[in-house]
């Protein structure tokens, strides 16, 4: 049997308290019942004894009265002279005489009357009536007859009807004696009269009535004829005891229990010393039990209290221990089933072990929730953008991957990826600051959210790039509609820091088909489409199509080919001389990479360098260029041109290489080239990408006495102060300025300012793209130090460099 804690507890309580209580109570009850019964028997027999003595005394008194009367000679003599019926005098006088005497005895308390019935038929009487004209003759005859049966000085006492009808008392205690005289000279006595003394039973009644035998207990006095002399119920006095009870009394000496008139009674019985009288007590056994019942009641109450306490204890136990335990169990079940609501803290009551357990459960739940919350936060952080609150690239990729999977499973009919990039965001960012840029991004995010459908996934991929995953599309048109809506939403101008800004975005759309396996491919294609859109300007969005696909494939192939270009010796270097403007001497060469594709022929650097920049390839290429240029320079130094230097472009990517400085050093040791002969060109843009790190590397290189030149200077709005921080030796003015010198006053002014400024900072100025002599004149006039361009020489192969060095520039030298 499976017992719950509560039942176990209740059973334990019973075993521990109630059962011993029950045993003690029952034995106490039994002992007290017996004791009470014995005590009652003793007190009853004592009582009966007392009443016996009392009755003896009373009867003694009456008997002595009778004895006295019967020995008064006046009376006996008067009685002896039985008057003739007609003798009024004698009769009246005798009556008077006897009356006077009897009256003296009539004062006995409780006495009703004294009567003398002579055998001759005369009646003398004193008592509570004078009228004896009407008497009960049957009673008189019975009394006389009974008196005659008595021996000398023998008496009879018993309950009788009052012989005098007029008397107030009908039922009396009668004592009888025969009065006899002895005539002189005669040997025998002669009976002359019956002396009858009637005693008031009420008087006895008053005495016995006061005897208390306890609740329901009664005392009964019976005479020799078993007639009731006393009973608490006066109606019964004078009645005959029932014959079966009489039998029972005669057969038993001791007390006995009998059911009398339907009630179980304890009968105690004692005979008087005279007249065959008896006193008996009838005590209901239930009185006995009633007394013992106090104990049983007390025990019952005690048991009830014990049960109540046990019950209350069980309830308390159930509430304080079992219920919390069940609750805890339930909570763990809910936790296991992952049903919400398990984690709510449980109320802790008190300081006991249960409370401790509950407290620990709460702590457990709390810390678990905390951990989950942190995990959620981390997950959110990992998948969301902090600034806009939009999902990030990771999340977007996941979603996209799922969509792709669905598409492949045929569950997704049509879906698309929108790639969005804000136009001119960088301008906003650079002119109004990052805070403004952030605000623009937030506004963009908000507007995008408004433009797309509820179920679309909007993500910020980084910078000003956003991507939108459109699921469940009704064809391409819907994607276009959404793109239009986006443009419309974004188009509303708004103010940031008092400047009105109108946003415009370029959107690339890639329609998802089951040919895609990789989310990145899709994103890239959307990206590509976006670039196309941006490049196209106009409509603002572009759908990635087959042509684009082809183009992309083309680029991919090119990229693949480029990987093999170094190994296959398809790359070579062209050198463009850098001319000193003061004397026209060749200062050195800028090494320019060239790719001779076996199928395509010469590939323009603008076609493959961005590709290389996107991948790690650029580093390899840059290092290959450096090595090759150094090797060539070695030859030229050895060929008698030891002052020549070579300038090599270092792509921004290289600054991510931790071992860049090391590698450069190694190449120069390997080619035995002095670092002073080497100039590394770094674009302004490259430095600005990761300024601190780049400056640090540049300083290391500068420490090696490698020359540093800032390439394409002027295109990126870098300040003078910025320039001052750089460990640069030279500044190369962007070709766009040089180009416009002769046509644009601005360009001219700027160029001259850059030259002047550079000089102030102790930098040498190199002008690129010099193609006309006018340009050269302007530059010379404004003190530009060096120049390169087609005006002086086209880039030439290394073998041609030796020739050039030998022959000089194959043109009419310009007057310097």
């Amino acid at each position: 049997m499976k017992l719950s804690l509560t039942i176990k507890f209740i059973i334990f309580l019973h075993l521990a308290s109630i059962i011993p209580l029950l045993i003690v109570g029952l034995s106490a009850y039994e002992v007290s019942r017996t004791t009470l019964r014995d005590e009652l028997k003793r007190s009853t027999s004592q009582l009966i004894q007392q009443q016996q003595e009392y009755l003896d005394l009373q009867l003694d008194q009456i008997e002595s009265l009778i004895t006295n009367i019967s020995s008064v000679e006046t009376i006996t003599h008067a009685l002896a002279e039985e008057p003739a019926p007609e003798d009024s005098y004698t009769r009246l006088a005798t009556q008077a005489r006897i009356g006077y005497i009897l009256d003296g005895y009539a004062n006995l308390r409780g006495l009703v009357s004294i009567d003398i019935f002579t055998l001759g038929g005369n009646h003398y009487h004193v008592g509570d009536t004078l009228d004896i004209s009407n008497i009960r003759t049957d009673v008189r005859d019975r009394l006389v007859l009974r008196a005659r049966s008595l021996g000398p000085s023998e008496m009879w006492a018993g309950i009788e009807q009052n012989v005098n009808t007029v008397s107030n008392t009908e039922q009396v205690l009668t004592v009888l004696r025969l009065i006899s005289i002895t005539d002189r000279g005669s040997p025998t006595t002669r009976p002359i009269a019956a002396l009858v003394v009637n005693y008031d039973i009420d008087y006895l009644y008053e005495h016995f009535r006061r005897i208390d035998l306890g609740a329901g207990g009664i005392l009964i006095v019976v005479d020799s004829e078993q007639r009731i002399v006393y009973h608490p119920n006066q109606q019964i006095i004078g009645s005959q005891l029932s014959s079966d009870l009489k039998e029972r009394l005669q057969s038993t000496q001791d007390d006995f229990t009998a059911t009398i008139d339907g009630e179980e009674l304890l009968v105690s019985y004692a005979r008087l010393s005279r007249h065959g009288w008896a006193v008996m007590s009838l005590i209901p056994t239930k009185t006995l039990s009633a007394r013992a019942a106090t104990i049983s009641t007390a025990m019952g109450i005690a048991l009830l209290v014990a049960f109540t306490i046990a019950g209350a204890a069980a309830i308390i136990f159930s509430y304080t221990i079992v219920a919390p335990l069940r609750q805890l169990t339930r909570r763990f079940q809910l936790y296991r089933a992952d049903v919400p609501g398990w984690e709510a803290p449980l109320p802790v009551r008190g300081h006991d072990e249960i409370a401790e357990l509950t407290r620990w459960f709460n702590l457990f739940s709390e810390s678990l929730q905390m951990r989950w919350k942190i995990e959620d936060q981390l997950r959110h952080q990992a998948t969301h953008d902090a600034l806009t609150g939009l999902p990030n690239r990771v999340y977007f990729s996941e979603q996209l991957a799922m969509t792709l999977a669905r598409t492949q499973a045929g569950e997704e009919s049509s879906a698309a990826v929108l790639f969005l990039d804000l136009d001119r965001f960088k301008i906003v960012n650079d002119s109004l600051g990052h805070a403004a840029g952030d605000q623009v991004l937030i506004i963009t995010a908000r507007r995008l959210r408004a433009a797309v459908r509820m179920d679309d996934t909007l993500a910020r991929l980084g910078g000003d790039e956003f991507a939108i995953l459109l699921n469940q599309l009704n064809g391409t048109d819907e994607a276009i509609q959404i793109a239009d809506r986006i443009k419309q939403e974004l188009g509303a101008p708004f103010e940031i820091q008092g400047v009105e800004v109108a946003l415009r975005a370029s959107i690339g759309i890639a329609i998802i088909s089951n040919t895609y396996a990789n989310p990145e491919d899709l994103l890239r294609e959307a990206d590509t489409a976006m670039y196309r859109a941006k490049a196209a300007g106009g409509t603002g969005y572009m759908i990635f199509d087959d042509a684009m696909h082809q183009q992309s494939m083309e680029i991919l192939r090119l990229e693949a080919d480029l990987r093999h270009a170094i190994g296959r010796h398809e790359l070579h270097i062209s050198y463009q001389p850098i001319i000193r403007l003061d004397n026209g001497a060749i200062q050195g060469f800028e090494a320019l990479i060239r790719w001779h594709h076996p199928e395509r022929g010469e590939v323009a650097p603008k076609d493959f360098l961005p590709l290389a920049e996107e991948t790690e390839l650029i580093q390899q290429i840059d290092m290959w260029v450096l090595r090759s240029a150094c090797t060539d320079l070695r030859h030229w130094h050895e060929a008698g041109h030891p002052t020549l230097g070579v300038s090599i472009n270092l792509s921004a990517r290289n600054f991510q290489n931790m071992r860049l400085v090391e590698q450069i050093q190694a190449i120069m040791l390997e080619t035995k080239i002095s670092p002073r002969s080497i100039q590394l060109e770094i674009t302004e843009r490259a430095i600005m990408t990761d300024t601190e790190r780049t400056i640090s590397i540049l300083e290391q290189l500068s420490d090696l006495e490698i020359q540093i030149a800032i390439d394409d200077f002027g295109t990126n709005y870098s300040s003078l102060a910025f320039l001052k921080r750089l460990p640069a030796n030279n500044v190369k003015i962007d070709r766009s300025f040089v180009n416009d010198i002769s046509t644009s006053l601005d360009a001219a002014t700027l160029t001259s300012a850059i030259i002047a400024m550079g000089h102030v900072l102790g930098l040498k100025i190199i002008a690129e793209g010099v193609e006309h002599s006018g340009q050269q004149e302007f530059l010379s006039k404004h003190g530009c130090d060096l120049a390169q361009g087609n005006l002086f020489s086209l880039p030439i192969r290394a073998n041609q460099v030796t020739m050039l060095l030998t022959n000089g520039l194959n043109r009419e030298p310009v007057a310097f």
Partner: protein
């Protein structure tokens, strides 16, 4: 689960209670007896009279004079008719005045509602009766009148008196003797207790009747205290002193029988004797000529009326101070 627990608890409780009950209630069966014989019950249920009934005591002078038995009979009749409880108390002898006083004192203690008294003495009982009245007990005076001046003096007011005209009764009885006397004759008057008013009245009535006859000479007026045996003694003494006596007026029949007893013993049946009270024995004696006359003063009616007056007084009714019942002469 909770429900199951409760059922368990209930059964445990119930079992334990059954055990307790079983141990406590172990009893052996006994045969059913009855206390009394069913046929033998007393038949006097009506005897149980309500104690709310007024208790009226009739206090009389002697238990030896049938006159008072007659008075009691009348009172008993009133008892059964008027629904009261009658208590009859009697002194042993006519002279037992102290006993009568003691009886009344006892009745005061017993707190009876009314006392109908035939006082043995007209004065001695006044104080005790006054006490009884102060204790709230209604008093009715019968037979012998209480002394009026003393009653007034003691403040014992509102006590009605019921009796006969004793003067007239005695006068009528004495006249019957007087009518028979035509020659000068010595006459004796045996009177009752001299302090009792009825005794005095009767003596006066007799003297009045005798005074009307010039032939009559009253030689002695003596008291035999209403008693039969004393009258025998007194008669015997007086006849020795006055052997010529021709008539005796006795104030009651008992004394008349005492006188007759002596006269018959000495063979003087010629002496005219008259009594008073009209006892049954006296009526017989009148009819056979032994007595000249007797006076029926209707003792039973006095008893009846006494009780009735007591009941009426208890009910707050106004009653005449004196009610005299007409006497009846019994003669040949």
């Amino acid at each position: 689960m909770r429900h199951t627990n409760n059922i368990h608890t209930f059964w445990i409780l119930a079992t334990l209670l059954l055990i307790v009950d079983g141990l406590v209630g172990c009893s052996q069966p006994a045969p059913n007896l009855s206390l009394i014989e069913p046929t033998n019950t007393r038949h006097d249920a009506e005897q149980q009279v309500s104690s709310g009934q007024p208790h009226i005591a009739l206090v009389m002078k002697t238990l030896t004079n049938p006159f008072f038995a007659e008075m009691e009979r009348g009172a008993r009749m009133a008892e059964s008719e008027l629904g009261i409880t009658l208590i009859v108390k009697t002194a042993a002898q006519e002279t037992s005045i102290d006993q009568q006083i003691a009886i009344i004192e006892r009745l005061i203690l017993d707190q009876v509602d009314a006392i109908v008294v035939a006082p043995g003495d007209s004065t001695s009982l006044v104080p005790v009766l006054r006490r009884a009245q102060e204790a709230g007990i209604v008093i009715v005076n019968v037979d012998n009148r209480l002394d009026e001046s003393l009653v007034y003096e003691m403040g014992l007011v509102g006590v009605p008196f019921i009796s006969v005209d004793n003067v007239d009764g005695a006068y009528q009885a004495a006249q019957m003797i007087s009518q028979r006397i035509t020659t000068p004759t010595e006459v004796i008057v045996l009177e009752g207790i001299p302090t009792a008013q009825n005794a005095i009245d009767r003596t006066n009535g007799a003297r009045k009747a005798f005074a009307e006859n010039p032939n009559i000479t009253i030689v002695a007026i003596e008291s035999a205290h209403w008693k039969i045996d004393e009258s025998y003694e007194v008669t015997s003494r007086l006849l020795k002193e006055h052997p010529q006596v021709g008539a005796i007026f006795c104030a009651n029949d008992m004394m008349a029988f005492g006188s007759l007893k002596y006269l018959e013993e000495i063979g003087r049946s010629d002496v005219l004797v008259a009594g008073f009270d009209a006892l049954p024995e006296a009526r017989v004696a009148v009819s056979n000529g032994r007595l000249v006359a007797t006076i029926d003063q209707q003792a039973a009616q006095q008893g009846y009326l006494g009780v009735q007056y007591a009941v009426q007084l208890l009910a707050g009714e106004q009653l005449p101070a004196e009610t005299l019942i007409p006497v009846q002469l019994i003669d040949q």
